[in-house]
């Protein structure tokens, strides 16, 4: 189990990319968001009569700025995950070191 899960995850990701490459090469796709496609279905189901009764209070002025905000969201999340996993890892090492120094430390934190 030491690195098996990592390899398995890598395998799944590679398969995922392969599927993308295959679908990409085998036809024209918009790669649009599923959320937006649902809007089209609503318009078909209602015969185009449905008008959203409320508009977003803010729209990112361009696709670039939208990407920026998405990237920011991912960056903040990654930062937090990395910080705490690193913190835990170092703490475990320090504790292990202290335990060795004392000869017989209590392993339970």
């Amino acid at each position: 189990m030491k690195i098996k899960l990592e390899l398995l995850t890598l395998g799944v990701v590679v398969l995922f990319i392969a599927a993308f490459a295959y679908v990409s090469s085998s036809g024209n796709h918009e790669w649009s968001g599923a959320d937006g496609q649902a809007k089209d279905v609503i318009s078909i189901l209602t015969g185009g009569t449905y008008i959203p009764w409320f508009q977003s209070i803010y729209q990112p002025p361009s696709g670039e700025i939208e990407s920026l905000l998405f990237a920011l969201q991912a960056a903040v999340g990654s930062l937090i995950i990395g910080y705490f996993l690193g913190y835990y890892r170092a703490m475990a090492k320090i504790k292990a070191g202290e335990a060795v120094q004392k000869g017989e430390g209590k392993s339970d934190a």
Binding site: M1, K2, L5, E6, T9, V12, V13, F16, A19, F20, V23, S24, G27, H29, E30, W31, S32, G33, A34, D35, G36, Q37, A38, K39, V41, I42, I44, L45, T46, G47, Y50, P52, W53, F54, Q55, S56, I57, Y58, Q59, P60, E66, L69, F70, A71, Q73, A74, V76, G77, S78, L79, I80, I81, F84, L85, Y87, Y88, R89, A92, D108, A109
Partner: protein
């Protein structure tokens, strides 16, 4: 799974708010109590929240030729349960509704219900059932996270179908139309999310299995078995 701003007519947007609000309110209460009782859970809570942040920001291409995103809620649900996870989901949904025009404030109730409540509840139940059935820990995590993700999108399809029944065939026919977009697109994404969640869970087990045991997420004997397998 974001239902866009203004796209749920009366009375549906109110109904989903009414269903979600008490859950989130109780989630906030539970979260506060948990932090007060055991501050050691705070970093893990931050990690679970950050995990939702990262995964729900990644719009991935799928086999259907369209893009969708994972939810990241499976992990929070396994560790903290669905109540607290609903709060984590609301934070992300509000951010995306306000700054990204993704989802919306009027549809926040419905989106919270699918991503913050229905998905996490399914994930939680699957995890409990799978661990009770004696499945390997990481397999249980994988199944829980995968199905939590997928269930979220099925619920979105149901929500839209209820609000927009087809002229012929009614709710069922329009469910098929919405599920054709969401459910199929989501299958590969859900599997990837399940794998990544299992991997993340492995690292948490390696680093803070003591907290997981104390929170009764994983039993001491399971941890012991995992550590022996590594050694």
């Amino acid at each position: 799974m974001h239902i866009m701003e203004g796209f749920l007519p009366h009375p549906w947007w109110e109904i989903w708010f009414a269903l979600s609000l008490p859950v989130v309110a109780f989630g906030v209460y539970k979260m506060n109590r948990m932090i007060k009782d055991s501050r050691e859970t705070l970093p893990l809570l931050a990690v679970a929240g950050a995990f939702v942040f990262v995964l729900s920001s990644l719009k991935l291409p799928s086999v259907t030729g369209s893009c969708s995103h994972p939810t990241g809620t499976g992990m929070g649900s396994i560790i903290f349960g669905p109540w607290i996870t609903s709060v984590l989901a609301v934070i992300v949904l509000v951010y995306q509704a306000v700054f990204l025009a993704h989802g919306g404030l009027t549809t926040l109730g419905a989106n919270t219900f699918s991503m913050g409540i229905a998905g996490p509840v399914i994930g939680y139940l699957v995890y409990k059932a799978a661990s009770r059935a004696g499945l390997h820990l990481y397999l249980a995590v994988f199944l829980a996270a995968t199905l939590a993700d997928w269930a979220t999108y099925l619920v979105t399809s149901v929500q839209l179908a209820l609000a927009f029944p087809a002229a012929s065939g009614g709710v069922l026919a329009s469910f098929e139309a919405f599920a054709a977009i969401f459910a199929i697109t989501q299958v590969p994404l859900a599997i990837v999310e399940g794998m990544v969640t299992a991997l993340m869970f492995k690292y948490i087990v390696q680093l803070r299995s003591d907290v997981l045991v104390r929170m009764k997420v994983v039993s001491q004997s399971t941890i012991k078995k995992l550590k022996e397998a590594v050694a």
